[in-house]
Amino acid sequence: MRYIKLPSENFEKFFKSLGEWGTMYAPVKRGSIYSFQEVHSPAEIALDYNRTMLPPKKFFFRPREAILRLKNGRWEEEVEAEPMVLFGLHSCDIHGLKILDKVYLDEPADPYYKSRREKTLIIGISCMPDEYCFCKSLGTHFAMDGFDLFLHELPDGWLVRIGSVRGHEIAWENGELFEEVTDEDLANFKEFEEKRAKAFQKELPQEGLADMLDLAYNSPVWKKYADICLACGNCNMVCPTCRCYEVCDRWMDAYKAVRERRYDSCFMENHGLVAGGHNFRPTRLDRFRHRYYCKSYFDPSAGYNCVGCGRCDEFCPAKIEHVKVLEEVRGSLK
């Protein structure tokens, strides 16, 4: 890793130079929530945001998009991707993208996701946890890769970690904006990270978690929560690692149709429905449990399917808390 320093007074120039790469998106405040939106000046950005409602997955795997277009009986593909800069991603969201990469870049790669991913610059930013965050428990509170540049807040600027060749190029081309990192900066960086580590309020112990959840398949706790759950699917929509989709063909006129995909949710009754009306997850309990199992699956090469961002808790209308459910299920094992 190469480390450089961006002094506060150069931030605006740095921001402008990034804008030359492509359309810039960053967290902005909309009412009481944050969301990634197109921005044109640093003043629009909420640098100290906690989490956006929709995670950055929306830029790569869109809520709704055409995958093929039918014209006069022939499919045409449109793998268009505009260069983008995603500015201000938190570490958990960078990990979320890495989990999506596992799925969408795995052969055969999804061409839409892939081309957008390739044309996007990822600029990470440090953060302080709030009451919903539990990324530290999952090891996703710090990103070692998956970004081009990562900015860590210092009292008088930013400590910048360079995570890719593209990141190097940007630093190279804007050499005059950066300074060498001093001992004082390192001390500040260290202090910030230590303070941050102590700020986590929520914890999800990992020891034997996957096995204990599996063993507690028949736990009454699943039912307790499935009974409160509204099956609205919000938790799926806002999760940076949920990526189920449904496909549908739609006619535009007599000659043109599109094949569209859109976010799907495993809370929907027809998610596991097959021909003849057989449903592999017929009850809300089955579907509730399925989501928790899917999120808690541990892939030896990619970790859990949850990055601890806390979105599902913050945006659950039934106030169901992810960590609490898992802890109670585990606790219900006699």
């Binding site: 995958i67 009986g73 593909e77 189920c244 989709y245 449904e246 496909v247 596991g272 199992y293």
Partner: protein
């Protein structure tokens, strides 16, 4: 060729044949001979059928890779899209992508006995195995145990009756169980009293012994069938690793993206479309919800 895995290849319907009142057999050929030549598949794999502007659905390949130049799909009319394809005629064009899934391990099983256990529409993927085994002659004996509702529901009836009569010469013995009595069934039962009976597919195991060290079982049928058939096989001491079954789940993409076919729990997530649809009984023991 397109790099886009969602793009389908044009295939012409060469023939449409009624198998029963609900199932039709579609014989297809790719329009582009190069695509056809590159389309290699294994018994047990499936394709995604694309009816442009109406949608896509997964269907097992029911012809054998030993029979080149065409592809056969046996499609039951159950809903919107299958109804649509049932209206299509010879000469019509549809799209195909695939083949997908892992298929049965035909090479690993060479030299062994195969017991194919089919229930209803489960006959479709197993027909590919059946003809592959007969055509290659690389397997010791092939038994087909086929459970069907009624005489009218027997898929590939001509082939099944042909094998009842002449299968011996091809090291293939067929046994048939039917649930609803009819004059045709009784006539069949009279002709092949040792091989045709009223009952369900597990009844066909009665009196059967086989060399467990040299036999594989391949199962496909409705979800309820698996547990009962597996019990019969385990009772005869067949190893779980020699029991293969092919499963159905809702599928959209067929390539591990859309998430619909995911099964399992925190210790064992599997995609039926790419880790399966063929699984062994070991997989079922370690993956909750597989069967």
């Amino acid at each position: 060729m397109s790099e886009n895995p969602y793009m389908t290849y044009n295939a012409r319907i060469l023939e449409v044949k009624d198998l029963t009142s609900r199932e039709k057999l579609f014989t297809l050929r790719f329009l582009d001979p190069e695509v056809g030549a590159n389309f290699n598949f294994k018994p047990g794999q499936f394709v995604i059928v694309d009816i442009r502007g109406f949608g896509e659905f997964p269907i097992s390949i029911c012809s054998s890779p030993t029979r080149k130049g065409y592809l056969q799909l046996c499609i039951r009319k159950v809903g919107r899209m299958t109804k649509f394809i049932h209206k299509m005629k010879e000469g019509d064009i549809i799209g195909i992508r695939g083949p997908y899934g892992n298929g049965f391990p035909m090479e690993e099983m060479e030299g062994s006995n195969l017991i194919l256990v089919a229930g209803g529409l489960g006959m479709a993927p197993l027909r590919s195995v059946l003809w592959y085994a007969i055509d290659t002659g690389k397997y010791e004996n092939v038994w087909l145990l086929y459970g069907t509702k009624a005489y009218e529901d027997i898929l590939f009836r001509d082939e099944i009756i042909h094998l009842l009569k002449h299968g011996e010469a091809m090291n293939c013995s067929v046994k048939l169980a039917y649930e609803v009595e009819s004059p045709s069934c009784i006539y069949l039962e009279r002709g092949f009293s040792d091989r045709v009976c009223k009952g369900v597919v597990t009844d066909l195991f009665r009196g059967e012994e086989f060399d467990v060290n040299n036999t594989y079982a391949l199962i496909c049928g409705p979800p309820v069938m698996y547990k009962f058939v597996i019990r019969e096989l385990l009772d005869r001491k067949l190893s779980p690793g020699r029991i293969y079954m092919t499963l159905e789940r809702r599928m959209r993409c067929g390539i591990g993206k859309c998430g619909h076919c995911i099964v399992g729990t925190s210790t064992s997530i599997k995609y039926v479309c790419k880790d399966g649809p063929v699984f062994t009984y070991w997989d079922a023991l370690s993956t909750r919800g597989l069967i």
